[in-house]
């Protein structure tokens, strides 16, 4: 089928199948995460997820034999364009799709792929990430969680932190130390662990924004079947790094996410709060700062587009995920600082009727944005990676 025909067909299908409510911007609390105990605010959410999943379009480029859409990159791009054109919400989100699925496809056994990919694509299992530990943040490979192979299973003991939404997740993909005598990068394995068993416990962490999206996860004497090892024993670090590249890409694109702010740029808030003169923001310093931010943000979006276009044209992509992670998250922090600067008093409220719901949400999101340059590898780690792998600077 030609791309043009694919576009026509896709547009028609979306028109017919995307429920009207799913064509409206999704508030943060209406994200569809799937899982064994999914929460629905509207029946249309489930309908939309199921319809998309049935075509494999929750992971459109994944092979059909695992439930994926089997689309080419060009086709997937068209699907994305048509969804954006119609304002379609994402039918399903989560770490299963964006992080685990790509490494399952690359490193999984046939049995693992058959078992896990369809569950992810259909939204049946919600995954979380067991990487960081209290003593192993930027020094991820310094992790101390242990797994000991005992016949047909591993016995796992460990303490993970920053496990996003672990209290809602069904399974966790985990880095564990399987050879304590090896060098630190060489004794790590990648395990898939079901959380619905005694010994796994997730405790939410309250953040400065007041929300609790992360947990500490404790794993005590948990048995994990040997077939849940992804890749080879003690070779988990390679998979871990690969997954981080996927994570960086998804965090680097954080500024893209739909939401109130995308529709209410800082300059509109600045006009509202600092006043307007001849169609311009009345405060010239604020105006210049916002323009400087907007220019950087636009240049970054163009860079994401360029990278995608180059990939589509078959040009070799550079090792750019660290750059996207670094720049995208720093920009997102600046974006919220701009919003605060534009709003003045209204930007630093916490509670009360004098602040609009948007204003109060943005204050919390401003605080939440500070984690962007920490989670998924700090900005400092990203700069280290760029210096070493891209620029070839010596250790």
């Amino acid at each position: 089928m030609s791309l043009a025909a694919f576009r026509t067909e896709t547009r028609a299908w979306l028109q017919d199948n995307c429920p009207p409510l799913m064509r409206t911007p999704a508030p943060a609390d209406e994200t569809v995460w799937g899982g064994r105990n999914p929460t629905w605010k509207h029946p249309e959410q489930k309908l939309w997820m199921d319809r998309m999943a049935a075509r494999g379009w929750t992971l459109p480029t994944f092979p059909k034999q695992y439930g994926g859409g089997g689309l080419s990159l060009e086709q997937a791009e068209i699907l994305g364009e048509e969804m954006r054109a119609l304002g379609c919400r994402a039918p399903l989100q989560g770490m299963g799709q964006t992080m685990l699925a790509p490494v399952l496809l690359e490193y999984g056994t046939e049995a693992q792929k058959q078992e896990h990919l369809p569950q992810i694509i259909r939204g049946e299992i919600r995954w979380c990430q067991g990487y960081s530990e209290p003593g192993a943040g930027s020094d991820l490979a310094g992790l101390q969680s242990r797994a000991v192979l005992q016949g047909d299973h591993f016995l796992v003991n460990g303490h993970k932190i920053w496990t996003s939404n672990a209290h809602y997740a069904d399974k966790i993909f985990c880095l564990v130390r399987t050879d304590p005598t090896a060098k630190k990068h060489e004794g790590i394995s990648f395990l898939l662990i079901d959380m619905a068993q005694p010994g796994v416990r997730a405790r939410p962490i309250r953040l400065i924004s007041g929300a609790s999206v992360f947990c500490e996860t404790f794993i005590e004497n948990v048995q994990v079947p040997r077939e849940n090892l992804l890749g080879e024993l003690n070779k988990g670090w390679t998979i871990a790094k690969r997954l981080l590249e996927h994570e960086r890409k998804s965090i680097g694109g954080i500024g893209d996410r739909a939401g109130g702010l995308a529709n209410t740029p800082a300059w509109e808030l600045a006009k509202l709060h600092a006043g307007e003169q001849d169609g311009r923001i009345a405060d010239p310093a604020l105006r210049q700062d916002i323009a400087a931010y907007a220019i950087d943000a636009a240049a970054f979006q163009l860079t994401r587009k360029r990278a995608a276009d180059e990939a589509q044209a078959g040009r070799p992509p550079g090792p750019m995920s660290a750059m996207f992670k670094y720049y995208g998250t720093e920009l997102n922090k600046r974006r919220y600082e701009m919003v605060l600067a534009a709003e003045g008093v209204q930007g630093v409220g916490w509670e009360g009727d004098d602040f609009s719901a948007d204003e109060l949400r943005w204050t919390r999101e401003w605080l939440r944005s500070k984690a962007n340059t920490i989670e998924g590898g700090t900005s400092e780690v990203q700069l280290n990676i760029i210096a070493k792998r891209v620029l070839g600077l010596p250790d």
Binding site: S132, G135, A136, G137, S138, D139, G142, I161, W162, I205, R206, L207, I208, G210, H273, A274, D283, A285, L286, D289, L340, A341, E343, G344, V345, Q346, G347, V348, G349, W350, E351, G352, D353, D354, F355, T363, W366, L367, K370, A371, T373, I374, E375, T378, S379, E380, L383
Partner: protein, 373 residues
Amino acid sequence: MALVLSEDAQLVRDQALDFFREKSPILALRKLRDSADPTGFSRELWREMADLGWTGFLVSEDAGGSGFGMVGLGQVLEAAGRTLAASPLISTALIGASALDIAGTPAQKSAYLTSLLSGDTITALASEEGSHHNPAAVAATARPSADGWVLDGRKTFVLDGHVATLLIVSARTAAGITLFLVPAATQGVTITRRLMADSRNAALVTLANVHLPAGALLGTDGGGTALLDRLLDRARVGLAAEMLGSACEAFDRTVQYLKDRKQFGVPIGSFQALKHRAAVLFAEIEVTRSAVLAALTALDEGAADAAALASLAKAKANATLNLASSEGVQMHGGIGMTDEHEIGFFLKRSRVAEITFGSTGFHRDRYAALNGY
């Protein structure tokens, strides 16, 4: 002017540092927050501060204060900033005391000063009307009545307004911007508490047909702009001193964390990129300290460049606390994002303090204008 603390000021400083460290650590703010305390500060501690004489630093001796001045009060505020202590120091000991001391009639002084000095009267300045600091934008009106004035208007960001017993209100008369003393209990005054991100409080104050006696006028009819400028310059520098204290504390904690936290088998403070950022921040704090001390001193000496120095001090304090709190959270990594850790309190405080009495942009603009460009 010599930029060095007198022995007396040094003593006040040491006393204040001990006071806040012992009686009002950040834990106190957390408790006020988590218990949803309706006042957001401790009246008991406030009385102790009054007993220490801090409410009288800006009140002349003949009016019952010590006249110790801004340099002294700045030391207290800097110490308060170290532990993020919430108190009416700025709204009352600084602004309210100054207003009465500078412009109060004997009747006004005798009505309010004693109870202000003892910590009973809490004052609040009701001058802002929009989202951004702009003392000149006054839409509130005061029209003469048979026996005094009638006020109408809406004030948006009245610090400590929710607990104030006496408001200092700016309103426009035929002669221009004018200040009035308005008891909070006056009929027609509505005060709504606004909880800010730093767990402190401001209030929305509406004035609807508020009848005041002739003696409510503070200073002269139409003299509000100049008087407000004087009060605000003191407030800006006092707040800058407090922010300096907060920046110092956030910095000290961050440097300590850099020494304690190990990754890759070494303290993260051994990484040169973090070292350099810490060293840059150190330098910024040092120059901010000089700007604050110079501004405090200039206010006490009535120096010609006091207004420019006030804008200088607030602009530097804004930028430095912003940097110190941002770097503090980033360098603390994940733990800095948790509510359990205290470094996040500095981040929240910083942005509220920044927009209070003028953002960095406001004070750059004012500094340029005062210097003729």
